[in-house]
């Protein structure tokens, strides 16, 4: 991957790629796997980008797809290798986020279902309901209600520390 490609197409979206990958992983090793796969997919599918949507939308969709696919694969592995617990979170893993509030929020997001995680991540990135629906593949009609429900659930998990 050339440095130019990285700088032009990945670096401007590094924040959201990290946030999404961290929301679906529990260890630094997994995070690196997800992150690299996302970058690889972005590079590989650049030619397929049809400019009908914004590049950032394309990146979100790709990142979520990679994360959801990897999570599914990991889940399958867990059922095969019963004794390995993949859901354990590394002690130092969350300390990568230097803000305590952000860390708490990220941990709370991880407690949501895979789909709810995807929706709230896009909502927090200020994507419109239409864009969220387009990326997730749901109808935009009930996105708003769903977001409110997810926010209430997050509030509960965070026990009033964040509103």
């Amino acid at each position: 991957m050339s440095k130019d490609f990285y700088k032009s197409y990945i670096y401007p979206h590094l924040g959201i790629i990290i946030k999404i990958c961290r929301a679906y992983t529990n260890t630094q090793e997994d995070f690196e796997d997800y992150f690299q796969e996302v970058c690889l997919q972005i590079w590989r599918s650049k030619a397929n980008f049809n400019e009908q949507s914004a590049w950032s939308t394309w990146v979100y969709r790709l990142t979520l797809n990679v994360c959801l696919t990897f999570t599914r694969k990991k889940k399958r592995n867990v059922t095969v290798i019963d004794n390995i617990e993949h859901n354990e979170i590394d002690d130092d893993y969350e300390s990568a986020f230097t803000s305590e509030s952000f860390r708490m929020l990220n941990e709370a997001i991880k407690k949501l279902s895979k789909l709810d995680r995807a929706i709230i991540l896009l909502y927090l990135e200020e994507k419109s309901y239409k864009e969220i629906a387009e990326i997730i593949g749901l109808s935009s009609g009930n996105i708003g209600t769903r977001i409110n429900r997810i926010k209430n659930r997050l509030k509960k998990i965070l026990n009033g520390k964040i509103y």
Binding site: G15, A96, S101, I162
Partner: protein, 213 residues
């Protein structure tokens, strides 16, 4: 003090940058990816050759063509496929612990060697295919009806062992042409199946060379 999740998400995202894999790792990942995709694609094509050989044997068995021809072609294509599998395995054994650049160069050399060998083989493979197709055509159903029609149109037609001489000449010319242009045909074939992957491989090597300088 309570904060909204929206504000925290937007304002408090600070991440330890040391924990982000650097672009060198991505380069390695990309090299492994192209290597895997290419060997997978080559294996798939070689397997298709074996399936074709088996299909051909079945076809000959049910046609009027001599079965020995089917068996010979079956063995011939399978030997070719086994040879290719062997070469692909050799490529897979390239030391991936070396730098991405080194193993991609080695892989490219191995690939070029394989293409070169196949190009030489195809100087014979294509004419053989042509001859076999002609024999099958000759033995295929309806041969007698066609011969009757030909005799009606060209009563003074010259035959060699019961085969019209023009048919033999046409087969011979086509076989020679296929042999002469085998390299071009094979290049077209390679481009058809591997052009994108070869271009990607060249692009990565070029980028790595640029980064090195």
């Amino acid at each position: 003090m309570e904060k909204s999740i929206e504000n925290i998400w937007r304002q408090e995202f600070k991440f330890n940058k040391e924990l982000i894999p650097d672009s060198h790792d991505l380069q390695n990942q990309k090299s492994k990816d192209i290597f895997d995709r290419m060997t997978r694609s080559m294996k798939k094509n070689t397997a298709m050759l074996m399936i074709f050989a088996l299909g051909f044997l079945v076809f000959v068995y049910f046609s009027e063509a001599p079965l020995v021809l089917g068996i010979l072609i079956f063995l011939f294509f399978n030997s070719l496929a086994l040879f290719n599998f062997n070469q692909i395995e050799k490529a897979e054994k390239i030391n991936k612990t070396a730098t991405s650049y080194e193993y991609l160069i080695k892989f490219r050399n191995q690939l070029n060697k394989l293409i070169g060998l196949n190009m030489r083989f195809n100087r014979f493979v294509y004419p053989i295919c042509m001859l076999v197709a002609s024999i099958i055509l000759w033995f295929s159903y309806g041969r007698e009806a066609i011969m009757e029609k030909l005799f009606l149109k060209f009563p003074d037609m010259v035959l060699i062992n019961g085969i019209p001489v023009y048919f033999l000449i046409a087969v011979l010319i086509l076989s020679v042409l296929l042999s002469v242009f085998s390299a071009k045909i094979y290049k077209w074939e390679v481009n058809l199946f591997f052009k994108n992957l070869i271009d990607e491989l060249e692009e990565i090597i070029q980028q790595m060379e640029e980064l090195k300088n």
